[in-house]
């Protein structure tokens, strides 16, 4: 390497003579790494496949299903028909002659609305608070936000929500979702904060800063990139909690029965002593199964998410990256 003394910066590059990859090859590479590789992992992971399948089913139920099944009302059909007997009401009917399946279907869109609002509020607030707090560690902003989070962690969520809903009586599913999100963000915000603190310590964040990369770019690439899997996993888990809590509120009869909800069905059936009257049992059991299946999908999804966002797995599933270059230790 003795002759390099005569080389200088520009010459080094002028000497270079190589064929850069074409635009289409680049596009293919980006697509492969960012979209196809995670998709391939998902397809290889039974949890992702099952969760995806179930959720697509519910999504169909909430869109096409609502359009196919007519809005149930009292006296549509004979009362208390057994399930699996008639195509018009495959899951049987309730005490008022309404098809149980139709009621379950018509409850789906509002459930999705609640989940959407609840998860957005909980995860969104948690992400903003956690990021802010983590980046302003040691300042009064951090102390204040964490104090607030600790306080809300301390207040038992359901009683608080019950009191709030009892006072405000929300009917809009989005509003219900927002209320439910209130007690879910603090724990998550604390974890996001500690993640931010550890990411901030990583040398690559410092390197990006010293290279003068703009803050939004650092936030997006270095911080959010690391936090994203974590946030998505928690979005799935939060969705499950929104289902649990909203159904509980309807089941207890605390929220006004202005909408179809699986909890409303359970409430009515339970009030009529469905447990001791076998002809009422389908009215209670089918909504229960619906709830369990949907939350099962979200739990599975959260588990699969860990694998999908694993860089090592992604590298292995990307076609444009040499496979066996894993270096041990």
């Amino acid at each position: 390497m003795s002759d390099t003394d005569e080389l200088d910066f520009e010459e080094l590059f002028d000497d270079a003579d190589r064929e850069p990859p074409s635009r289409s090859a680049r596009l293919k590479r980006t697509l492969d790494v960012t979209v196809l590789a995670p998709l391939r992992i998902a397809l290889h992971d039974w949890r992702a496949v099952v969760a995806g399948g179930i959720l697509v089913l519910y999504a169909l139920m909430g869109t096409v299903g609502v359009w196919l099944a007519k809005k149930p009302s009292s006296g549509d059909h004979p009362k208390l028909e057994a399930p699996f007997q008639h195509v018009a009401y495959p899951l049987g009917t309730d005490l008022y002659g309404r098809s149980i399946l139709d009621q379950i279907i018509h409850a789906t869109p509002d459930m999705f609305r609640m989940i959407f609002a609840g998860a957005i509020v909980a995860v969104g607030v948690a992400a903003v608070v956690g990021l802010l707090s983590g980046f302003m560690r040691g300042t009064w902003v951090d102390a204040l936000l964490m104090m607030l989070a600790d306080m809300i962690i301390t207040i038992p969520g359901l009683p608080l929500i019950i009191v709030i809903t009892a006072i405000f009586q929300p009917t809009n599913p989005f509003v219900v979702g927002v209320f439910l999100g209130i007690d879910m963000w603090p724990g998550l915000a604390r974890t996001v904060r500690s993640q931010v603190l550890s990411i901030r310590e990583e040398s690559y964040v410092e390197a990006s800063r010293i290279m003068g990369l703009p803050t939004p770019s650092i936030l997006r690439r270095d911080v959010a990139g690391q936090l994203m899997p974590f946030i998505l996993v928690n979005a799935a888990l939060t969705s499950r909690r929104v289902i649990f809590e909203s159904v509980a509120l309807y089941f207890l009869g605390i929220l006004p029965f202005t909408t179809y909800n699986w909890g409303v069905l359970m409430n009515l059936a339970y009030q009529e002593n469905a447990l001791t009257r076998s002809e009422l049992l389908p009215w209670l059991v089918f909504p229960m199964i619906t709830i369990i299946l949907m939350s099962f999908a979200f739990v599975l999804l959260s588990q699969a998410m860990d694998a999908i966002f694993n860089v090592r797995l992604q590298a292995r599933h990307a076609e444009t990256i040499d496979e066996d270059e894993e270096v041990a230790g």
Binding site: I155, G157, P159, I162, V163, L197, L252, F296, F298, Q303
Partner: protein, 339 residues
């Protein structure tokens, strides 16, 4: 432990308590039309005076009597009086529906809720911690995958649905456990074996239903334990020829439980929350049911009172958990916390 740490935690607890008291006050004010309007209808209905001949002054007096809030006074005076009667006189107002002091009503119920709450929490976490550790030790075995799937399934079932299933199967189908009340109808309370037995039998199903809330901890515990098992100090402990039981408890166990702490803290509030639904399903006369009934009857003073006591109990539990945590993890109390 570091005295500064204890002082700091105590200060935080007192502050949070004040904040919660303030929150209940704010909630009173936030009621549609303010506290006076909201309660007026209740009081009128309760006093049987539908005609509305009660004078405004008398009504306001009654609102103050029930809720410790006099709507005629400026806000800061109202707030001062509210705090004063609550903290100095220990007066949480009076139940509109039952006419008794809120505090008395709560004190009669609180021990029952604490009883099932503490057992649900302890047993739920004990089971999930041991299960998680066992899964980690047998990583990738059949036991591990079966248990993991089981825990995932259990995590997908809301605790109240679990309670309903328990009622149906163990209570109604096989009549193994009572499904109503805190003890048998024909049992006299007292220090008798019969009474205690009845109390325990009545608590089983509520405790189990609430306990499954904690099973999510098993998967986290599994993850932690797998990580700790790969840590150097565990390998060194094995190389030092320590007994397996000591390595399992003092090394793997202790270090994998520590990060579960935050989850445990939130769990305290979660289990107490679940009493509202569970006590209603089992007609168990505890604080949760008290709160539920208060909501249905729009008994606002009672509602606020129970919320306050619920929060206070959680607050104290978390405070104690925090102090013991500082004791078992020396890194926290000397300020080396990794947050």
């Amino acid at each position: 432990m570091h005295p500064r740490y204890v002082l700091k935690r105590t200060g935080q607890m007192v502050f949070t308590f004040f904040a919660t008291v303030t929150l209940t006050f704010v909630l009173y004010q936030a009621m549609p039309g303010g506290p006076a309007e909201a309660m007026r209808a209740m009081i009128l209905a309760e006093s049987g005076d539908v005609g509305g001949s009660v004078s405004l002054d008398l009504l306001n007096e009654m609102v103050e009597h029930y809720a410790n809030v006099n709507p005629d006074q400026p806000l800061h005076v109202q707030y001062y009086n509210y705090l004063h009667s609550l903290l100095v006189e220990g007066d949480m107002g009076t139940s509109i529906y039952q006419g008794e002091p809120v505090l008395d009503l709560i004190l009669q119920r609180a021990p029952w809720t604490m009883f099932i709450g503490v057992y649900a929490l302890t047993m739920g976490y004990a089971v999930s911690l041991f299960l998680g550790a066992a899964m980690a030790y047998k990583e990738r075995s059949l036991f591990d995958s079966v248990s993991s799937t089981g825990v995932i399934l259990l995590n997908s079932v809301p605790y109240y649905i679990f309670a309903i299933v328990l009622v149906y199967v163990l209570g109604i189908k096989y009549s193994l456990f009572p499904i109503n009340g805190r003890y048998g109808t024909f049992v006299d309370p007292g220090f008798t074996l019969e009474y205690m037995g009845s109390v325990v039998r009545h608590a089983v199903l509520p405790v189990v239903s609430m306990g499954i809330l904690a099973t999510g901890g098993a998967l986290t515990m599994r993850g932690n334990a797998i990580r700790v098992l790969g840590d150097d100090y565990v390998r060194v402990a094995e190389l030092r020829g320590l007994r397996r039981s000591r390595v399992a408890m003092q090394y793997v166990g202790r270090n994998s439980v520590l990060p579960l702490y935050t989850q445990f803290m939130i769990g305290i509030a979660g289990v107490l929350s679940s009493t509202v639904v569970v006590e209603e399903i089992f007609a168990y006369n505890g604080m949760g049911k008290l709160l539920y009934d208060a909501v249905l009857l729009h008994d606002y003073p009672l509602l606020m009172g129970t919320l306050l006591v619920f929060t206070t109990i959680t607050l104290i539990a978390i405070y104690l958990a925090d102090l013991t945590y500082g004791y078992i993890d020396p890194r926290i109390s000397t300020g080396e916390s990794n947050e």
